[in-house]
Symmetry: C2
Subunit: 309 residues, 2 copies
């Protein structure tokens, strides 16, 4: 049985970018300076109550089963047979539906929160799985690429059954440009665009770029990291859901980015270079050419993942 050891806890987990170009469903990187805060309280009733504040908080579902934080708490309550429930307040800071791992951030924070409150002893795999349950509630599949990064920080590779390898991230600047476009069920839409079959040649290219990206992270080579942002498997299909995609990407490269691709399931683009501000401006301008407003976020990878604050 689980004993409640803490009655209230306040946890933070960073935003993240999944895929990172070549590493669809494998890579994730935690971002510095942007993340969700979750405040958890134990309540005597066996239920999960959710409230939310912050940007776009009115757009997220507040039912436990379909909210990424709520689903994590609900799963623990049910699977551990708890005789109490949780009240969850989510302070949203990660933009919703933009490919920055918003639901993963709340889920990761909640996974840490309940683990600490109940003193659960979880293997890394169980811990990642718990957070991924939250993703499952939102996207329909409990994929772990965003939550692994939010939870553990750094650069993460998700493998079989929630096994994760984590490396300290490279010291690079990351620009994320968020176009002002919205989709219902964005993650499902982004997945529906993908084909079942891809070219062997393209698969080999992605294997090569993904391998180089891991090498870049391991040896700490920011230029190699940026130049490894190349995706021949997913980007060509998802490009169509992003207005003016190819020109925005081209603008990033011409402004000096080493590489640029879609952040997670989009519609944001991220780029890595040494002059983030100019790169971001050029990308926003290219969105503007298609009459799309956008917001530019300048960030860096975060070594830290979810933490009690």
């Amino acid at each position: 049985m689980c004993q409640v050891t803490v009655k209230q806890i306040r946890v933070y987990a960073p935003a993240s970018i999944a895929n990172l170009g070549p590493g669809f469903d494998v890579f994730g990187i935690a971002l510095d300076g942007i993340g969700d805060t979750v405040i958890l309280d134990v309540i005597p009733e066996r239920r999960v109550e959710i409230t939310a504040s912050g940007d776009g908080a009115n757009t997220i579902p507040l039912e436990a089963e379909s909210n990424s934080a709520g689903a994590v708490a609900f799963y623990v309550m049910e699977s551990r047979g708890l005789d109490h429930g949780f009240r969850i307040h989510i302070k949203k800071r990660v933009p919703i539906g933009k490919g920055m791992g918003s639901s993963g951030s709340s889920a990761a924070a909640t996974a840490l929160g309940v683990r600490e409150m109940l003193g659960l002893e979880l293997s890394q795999r169980e811990y990642v799985h718990l957070a991924a349950v939250g993703e499952g509630a939102v996207s329909g599949s409990p994929h772990a690429d965003n939550v692994a990064a939010s939870l553990l920080g750094g650069f993460t590779m998700v493998g079989h059954e929630y096994e994760v390898i984590r490396l300290d991230p490279p010291e690079v600047e990351i620009v994320v440009v968020l176009p002002d476009v919205y989709y219902e069920n964005k993650t499902r839409l982004a997945r529906s665009l993908l084909p079942e079959k891809v070219g062997l040649k393209e698969a080999v290219l992605n294997v090569g770029y993904a391998s180089r990206m891991v090498a870049a992270v391991a040896i700490g080579d920011p230029v190699l990291f940026g130049r490894s942002i190349n995706d021949h498997l997913i980007e060509p299909y998802r490009a169509e859901m992003i207005p003016n995609f190819w020109n925005v990407k081209q603008a990033a490269l011409e402004a000096g980015a080493y590489g640029c691709s879609i952040a997670g399931g989009g519609p944001s683009l991220f780029a890595v270079g040494e002059n983030s501000e100019e790169i971001g401006e050029a990308m926003a301008e290219a969105f503007g050419d298609a009459d799309v407003d956008s917001r530019v976020i300048l960030t860096r990878p975060s070594k830290l993942g979810a933490r009690v604050i």
Copy 2:
């Protein structure tokens, strides 16, 4: 113009295994204790003369254009407008047509040899390209996965236009089991078995395993390295050219191997584990069940690549 600075040189380059499971056309690893030696002499005539000795030497072509060492020397003679030629003697030690990078070993040794004899200043990319010319003569495409490993040693990743990233290899034992089967134009045959299209799911699995393998090499984790030997893109298709393949692989895993796959274009299998001798015996026995004789080689990765001896 190139000045001949050395009249005779003796060079050695290790055997190698390409692909290593998940890294088709990308990964290579140099092997310890097994390699070809090439003795190069400058001759006044503008031609390339080739002789060979050693295992299977009578089976390799001795025309400059179709011999992997000869093609390298010929290419330099032609592209640099030399007014002299080369005599090449190849001491074959790497088994031919088995997936151990035999032609790549001779090509890499020759690339080093001519570079040193003529005092050529080559970038790493040009150096790898030169050796790959030798592979092109044999296989029809100048791929660089074997030659990069033979040339530079260690664990190598081949990228765009002969750009290579090299890491020191992991400290592991490698068993290679060479079945006694032969194919005409083996490399071409092995490529002809591959489909143009593959499943996106399988491509993502290979990206994951390849990424984990690079991480394993970088952080020096031999178990993770072995467990990353998983290939969902190529192995299912090439398995059919290897008698009793699935049982031989199964025997390796049951004997304790962390992973096992096809060495390069086959037909040999390689496995990584901590009890190489038993693993090799089990694999040879499984080949025996299909009435196929085989030879077992116990080796390790080589940090060193091609060198003057």
